[in-house]
């Protein structure tokens, strides 16, 4: 038996023994365990499952063991992911620190910074949020204006960040700030970590079209930030941010298919809400065509994820493929939501009422939520610019 098969067996046995049955049914948003100083658990099983995974280092399977990770390489980590998926094991811990900041600190941080932040992320002790966009800096992120002035032993930060997801619940924020107002756009920017408890930091929530308000605006009013919180070199924050954006885009492409939404698949919904004719076809041929176009595109995207992974494993990676996934994953997710809305007809239009069941209400929430997918983490238009210039080499 190969090393990988052996590992698969071990993983499977461990999961079978350690993942409580209640943690193997699909998770709802309310049941997600988010990192933080004041973490709460929806159940004792969720706590147990989190603690077992944490002790194994499997909240962050690919991070170094000495920093609280699992020390697995990509192939072994994939097996863990596959086995968890097969058994239906829930993700034990949610945090932007795991998905975004951690990889950047591992790549750009000093030893002290790694020691300070990585183990806490691995153990879910700190909840992170992101401070990139500003009211006047969206797609043109490099025009950001939040300033960090050098005051000798510390930076003095003034300005505001928008779309800071869950900032009202976060313990720390990682920010892009302007440290050299005279330099050209990208060149005067630094990457700074700020404790949300510091004096002068405040947040207010933003209500969205879906009725949710997990996004916030965060304000910095003469906030003193220690010099030790600078990640990477001064004025070189743009390269840290770019590397981190890659993680965000990958995440956006992956969660694309996993936005808050109803429990049924589009096909199940279509059979229930439209029905089949005697030949076994959906009775509405227009919607049937829209549905099958989506399903076929979705399968092509899945196969492309798989091809990209296989190419990396075989050392023939085409680095251009991951670049297309953010665009195509989010655009297809939006199309799926449109198809679902069409399938449910006016049953998808209820806002709140006992008349509508949870799946019906979640259908329009999911649809509205999906509109942000092709905006957050780099708009679709910016993605196309990147492909045109970086991949195809088209001129400026």
């Amino acid at each position: 038996m190969s090393d990988l098969d052996q590992f698969r067996q071990t993983v499977n046995a461990w999961l079978e023994e350690n993942c409580p049955p209640s943690q193997r049914i699909p998770i709802t948003r309310e049941e997600q365990v988010w990192a933080g100083k004041n973490k709460t658990f929806p159940s004792s099983d969720a706590k147990l499952w989190f603690e077992r995974m944490r002790d194994k280092g499997w909240t962050v399977p690919e991070w170094p063991i000495e920093l609280g990770g699992g020390g697995l390489d990509e192939q072994h980590a994939k097996i863990l992911k596959e086995e968890m998926k097969r058994l239906g094991c829930r993700t034990p811990l949610f945090d932007l620190g795991i998905w975004m900041l951690g990889p950047a600190v591992l790549e750009y941080g000093t030893d002290e910074q790694r020691q300070q932040h990585i183990p806490k992320i691995a153990r879910g002790e700190v909840r992170w949020c992101q401070g990139y966009s500003e009211p006047g800096a969206g797609s043109d992120l490099a025009s950001l204006q939040t300033r960090a002035e050098d005051k000798g032993d510390h930076f003095l930060v003034n300005g505001t960040k928008i779309w800071t997801t869950n900032a009202d619940k976060a313990d720390w924020i990682f920010c892009l700030v302007r440290t050299d107002p005279d330099a050209k756009k990208q060149e005067g920017i630094s990457f700074l970590l700020i404790d949300m408890d510091d004096a002068g930091v405040s947040t207010t929530p933003i209500e969205l079209i879906s009725g949710e308000s997990e996004f916030c605006q965060t304000f910095f009013d003469n906030v003193k930030v220690p010099k030790a919180n600078l990640i990477g070199e001064l004025n070189k924050g743009w390269s840290v941010a770019k590397s981190l954006l890659k993680h965000e885009r990958k995440l956006m492409a992956e969660i694309g298919g996993d936005t808050p939404g109803p429990s049924f698949s589009p096909i199940q919904a279509a059979i229930e809400y439209i029905g089949l004719d005697q030949s076994g076809r959906l009775k509405d041929i227009g919607i049937r065509d829209e549905l099958v176009r989506h399903e076929m595109a979705f399968r092509a995207i899945g196969l492309t994820h798989f091809r990209s992974f296989e190419e990396r494993m075989n050392g023939v990676a085409d680095n251009n493929v991951p670049l297309i996934m953010k665009y195509v994953g989010t655009e297809e997710s939006k199309r799926k939501e449109e198809v679902l809305m069409a399938i449910l007809g006016h049953r998808a239009l209820g806002w709140y009422d006992d008349e509508f069941n949870v799946d019906e209400l979640l259908t329009n929430r999911g649809w509205l939520f999906s509109k942000a997918l092709s905006i957050a983490g780099g708009t679709s238009e910016v993605q196309l610019n990147i492909i045109a210039k970086r991949v195809l080499g088209l001129p400026d």
Binding site: R288, A300, L303, N385
Partner: protein, 373 residues
């Protein structure tokens, strides 16, 4: 399942590319077209393809084949799509030899397959009867008459039909579908070659009381449709591979043109209106590569979801080849509509290939039905 070519397959693809670029560039098809070549392909080039092992590549070793698999043949066919190389490879090897391998008896296999492997026998599948692909319910009949069958009917859009020496005819038996091997020069058969938009080789074939021996039956009513379905799915995947090659070639030529053509004092490739459209084509092509590779591996692994993958691949490549050829013409501007530029050959081939074994509507309908809706 794997979506990456192995070392041997990559080597094969490179060899194919070199050969096709030097011996059979698009200008070779132009020559065949301009001199109204009676065969529609070059016998000499076909012989060279046979020597490279392309005719025997997917045949079983027991019948002089190389048993190398469709991942390999697909890579070769993709390359042949880049230069629009005309040959009997698709009709003879992919369609007809599959029917013989899957359905033929020992005698049929041992007589026909080694000849196909050696490039000595060209065959064509007589299938279509209406302006659109129809994989069942044939009006061409085969009626038992003593030990023989009498075939009556007309077949349209028979690929390589006028140059093939043997035909496989899809007929309606009393119950089910019968597939017959028929000598193309039998009494009662008349063949009319047509000059098509893509300069390739297609015929209308009439069967007027054509008498064949019962031993010419490859697959009887019980298995005929199944075997035909398998061969058609192999064909759909392989023609999709060809279309992928054509679309990639057309796209690369267009991107090169965007970097070279000046208007308003700048390269036209600097215009965002064109950049975004080019980026979208790139994305569609990347997805198409994955789909074609998975469909080819579904053939090699004899996977049960081959019908789905075949429809996925054919529908996608119909759409993508159409998109890319239309955009290629538009982005080339005035020169794009001239016969001098080779882009027109790709445009024409894309529409022709779309009609082979099912347009996008056919395959989306089939995919949905296969998935239970």
């Amino acid at each position: 399942m794997t979506l990456v070519l192995n070392e041997e397959q990559r080597l094969l693809k490179d060899t194919a590319k070199d050969f096709l670029n030097s011996a059979m560039p698009v200008s070779a098809l132009r020559q065949l077209r301009d001199k109204k070549d009676s065969l529609g392909y070059s016998r000499e080039h076909w012989q060279q393809m046979v020597e490279l092992g392309w005719a025997s590549m997917v045949l079983p070793e027991a019948y002089d084949g190389l048993d190398f698999g469709y991942m390999g043949l697909g890579a070769v066919i993709e390359e042949s799509g880049r230069t629009l190389a005309a040959s009997p490879l698709f009709s003879t090897v992919v369609l007809c030899s599959t029917i013989i391998v899957e359905g033929g008896n020992e005698e049929q296999k041992s007589i026909l397959l080694p000849r196909i492997a050696a490039g000595d026998l060209n065959m064509a599948l007589a299938l279509e009867e209406s302006p659109h692909h129809q994989p069942s319910g044939f009006t061409t009949t085969a009626i038992a008459d003593g030990d023989d069958f009498i075939i009556q009917g007309e077949k349209l859009f028979v690929l390589d039909g006028h140059s093939a020496e043997q035909l496989i005819v899809a007929t309606q038996l009393e119950t089910g579908v019968g597939l017959f091997i028929v000598d193309a020069n039998s009494t009662g058969i008349s063949r009319r070659r047509h000059h098509m938009i893509d300069s390739r080789n297609v015929a209308t074939i009439s069967f007027d009381q054509v008498r064949v021996k019962a031993s010419a039956l490859i697959a009887n009513a019980k298995r005929g449709q199944d075997i035909l379905n398998t061969a058609m799915d192999y064909g759909r995947v392989c023609i999709a591979a060809e279309m992928l090659g054509g679309a990639i070639e057309c796209f690369e030529r267009t991107v090169a043109y965007l970097k070279e053509r000046d208007q308003f004092g700048v390269k036209i490739g600097s215009f965002q209106a064109l950049q975004h459209r080019a980026a979208k084509m790139f994305i569609e092509l990347e997805l198409s590569k994955s789909v074609v590779l998975d469909a080819l591996s579904a053939i090699d692994d004899k996977r049960a979801d081959l019908p789905q993958l075949a429809s996925l691949a054919k529908a996608r490549l119909n759409d993508v080849f159409e998109l890319v050829t239309n955009e290629a013409v538009q982005m080339h501007g005035g020169i794009g509509v001239t016969d001098e530029l080779e882009i027109g050959f790709f445009l024409k081939r894309s529409r022709s290939a779309t009609q082979i074994l099912g347009n996008s509507g056919f395959h989306r309908d089939r995919y949905a039905s296969l998935c239970g809706y």
